[in-house]
Subunit: 245 residues, 3 copies
C-alpha cells in the first residue's frame, strides 16, 4: 500500500502544472518520490516532473503507478483550504484512491495506467539560456495575446526579446542582459511558438519567481522551473512553429 | 396600514431562505411579526418561517397579507449597503408596497396573496436529531456535488454520516458524536434526499453557525435554524428519495 | 513628432469616458493638450473633452490628429498597473502609435482620422442646473434599471428628482435642495432620457465625486464633469426622449 500526506498548496501546484497538458496522468511512485511524464494530445508539448518525497508531510509504502483523473483531484482540492493536509492512500490495481481532507473522504476511481501515454522524452539541448522573472514574462504574454496566436522568443548576447506580430500591431518585450538574472547566448537564436501553450505553461508555474528558458533556432523550447518550495523540479518542452517564407 | 423598518441584513437573510423554494411568497403580518409558509412548485420541499416583530427596527399597523415578488425585493436589497435600514409601507389590497432605502423609493407592485399556495404543514417528527456545524455541512455538500445528485444522511448512536455515491466515486463526511454539538439517535436511521434542495437550503442559512437536522428512515428531513440574530426561526422540510432495490 | 508620458490612471479615465460613445476616436493634439469630440453611431449622444497638457507627465512635439482604436488602448492599459506611466510616441500619418509601458512596447496601428466623424457641437443651454453626488446618482440609476429603459430627470426650485416607471413598479430618487451641493431652477423642468446612455455616462465618470446636470423641458441633457485630477473637463450631451401622449 502507498500512503502519503501532502499540503494542499503543494498538491495544487503539481496539479496546475500537469493540467496544462493532460486530463489524465500516470503518477509513478517510487521510494524517491513521484515522477510524471506527460504529452499533450496533439504531441506539441511535453512535461517531465519530479517531486521529492521530502515535499510530502508523510510518504510511505511500495512503489506503484497511479492513473489519476486530474479533474477529480481538482474537485477535492476545492474542498480544502490553505494549510489543509490531504491524506492519500492507494492499495494498487483497481482499488480506489482514498483521499481524506478533514472529516471528508473521497473514494476516487482511478484510471488504468496502462492506458495513459508514456512518452519517450527527447534529448533537447537548446544553445541559448535565459532566466526571466515570471511576472515580466506574464505581462509580455498578455500583451502578445492581444495581437497574435504566436510568440517569438529571441536571445541575443545582450537581450532577451519576446515578440508577437499581428496584421496591424506588434508587441515587444525587450529586457537587457543587466536586468536579467542570467543570459547566456553566444549568438542570436530565435524560434516561434504557439502562444496558447506557452501562456498556459508559464501561468501554471504559480510559485517560482524566475523561470529558465532554453532557446534555439527553430528548435524546441525547454522551460525549467522549481516546484513544491524547491523540493521538486519540472521542465516543459514545446515544439517550435516553423515560420513559412 | 402596515409599516416597518428593517435592517438590510435581516431582510436579506429572510429573502435568501424564501428564495430557495419560491419566487412569490405570502407574508402573513400579525401583531407578533411575520409568518411565511411556502412549498416549492414540485411539492418536494417546504418552508415554515417566523420572524418576531423584535427583529424589526420598527413594526406597527394592522395585520395583513402581502404577496411578494422575491426578485423585486432582491433588486431593492442590491441598492442598499450593509447597515442600511429599509422602510416598508403597505396599505393593503392592490396598493403598492412602498420600499424606501435612503433617498430612493420603490413603489412595488404586489401579487394577489389569494393566488399563492398556502401549504398545509404536515406533522413531521423524525426520530433522530443532530446539530452540525454549518461550515462542515457545506464542505460535505460540495464534496457530494462532485459525484452525485443525491445525498444520504445517516445518524447512528455514535456518528453523523453524510454520503453520496456516483458510478466510480464515493464521498463521505463522517463526524463522531464527540465532535458534534448534539447527537441523539437510539438506533441507526438514514434517508436519501435530493442534493440540490439540501444544498440550497443549507447555503441559504447564511448566519446560523449550527443547524439542527432531524432524520428518520426513508422519512422527510426537517432542518431547523435560527434567523435574524435569533429573533426568528425557521424549518425546512424535504421529502426523502426512496431507494430503489 | 508627438511625444507624451501619462499616468495609467489618467489615460484610463479618458478612455473610459470616450468608450461610452465610440470605439474609434480622433485625438486632436495641440500645444494646449488634447481635445476630443465624439458622437455615438445613433447620434443620440455627444462628448466634448479637453485634457490640459498639465495632465501629462511629459508633453512635447507638434500638433497632430491621431485616430485611435479604443479597444487597443484598453488592451495596453490592462498590461499596466496603478502608478505606471505610459509613454506615447507618434510620427504622424500612417506610422504606428508606439506605446511603451515598462519593458513592453506596442506598435499600434492607427485609424485614418479623416474617416472619423467630427461632430458639430450644438449650442445647448438648459435652464436648470443641479450638482449631484455621483454615488447617489448611481444608486438611483441602478434602481431605475430594475423597472424601465428610460429615466426622467426633474428639477424643481426645491428638489432634484429622478424617476423611472415600469408596468407595475416605479422608482424615485428625490433629493431636497439642502442636501445638494447646488440646485438652480426658477421653475420646474423635466425631460425623459434613454437610461442606458445616461447610466453609461455617469458610470464612466469614475473619479469626479460630483457631476453637474443641466436640464430643460424636453430638451437635451448636458452633463459636466472634471477629469484627470481637475486638469481636464468634459461634457456629455444626450437627446431627450419625447414622451408620447
Amino acid at each position: 500500500m502507498f500512503k502519503a500526506k501532502v499540503k494542499m498548496e503543494v498538491l495544487r501546484e503539481v496539479v496546475e502544472v500537469i493540467s496544462t497538458l493532460v486530463s489524465e496522468v500516470k503518477l509513478s511512485v517510487s521510494k524517491d518520490g513521484v515522477d510524471v511524464k506527460a504529452v499533450d494530445p496533439s504531441h506539441v508539448a511535453m512535461l517531465v516532473l519530479h517531486v521529492n518525497r521530502g515535499a510530502f508531510e508523510e510518504f510511505t509504502g511500495e512503489a506503484t503507478d497511479i492513473g489519476l483523473d486530474i479533474e477529480k483531484i481538482k474537485e477535492v482540492l476545492r474542498l480544502s483550504k490553505p494549510g489543509d493536509v490531504l491524506d492519500l492512500q492507494y492499495d494498487g490495481g483497481k482499488s480506489k484512491l482514498v483521499v481524506t481532507v478533514g472529516k471528508l473522504t473521497r473514494h476516487m476511481g482511478v484510471v488504468d495506467p496502462a492506458g495513459i501515454t508514456d512518452p519517450k522524452v527527447p534529448n533537447v539541448n537548446p544553445p541559448g539560456t535565459v532566466k526571466v522573472n515570471t511576472e515580466e514574462l506574464r505581462q509580455g504574454i498578455r500583451g502578445s495575446e492581444s495581437v497574435s496566436d504566436h510568440v517569438t522568443l529571441e536571445l541575443t548576447p545582450e537581450h532577451f526579446i519576446m515578440h508577437s506580430e499581428g496584421e496591424t500591431d506588434r508587441v515587444d518585450l525587450k529586457i537587457p542582459k543587466d536586468a536579467l538574472p542570467e543570459l547566456s547566448a553566444k549568438e542570436t537564436v530565435k524560434s516561434m511558438y504557439p502562444l496558447d501553450f506557452f501562456s498556459n505553461m508559464v501561468k501554471s508555474i504559480s510559485t517560482d519567481e524566475v523561470v529558465t528558458l532554453h532557446v534555439g533556432n527553430e528548435y524546441p523550447l525547454k522551460i525549467e522551473f522549481k516546484i513544491a518550495n524547491g523540493k521538486g523540479d519540472g521542465s516543459f518542452l514545446l515544439a517550435p512553429r516553423v515560420e513559412e517564407d
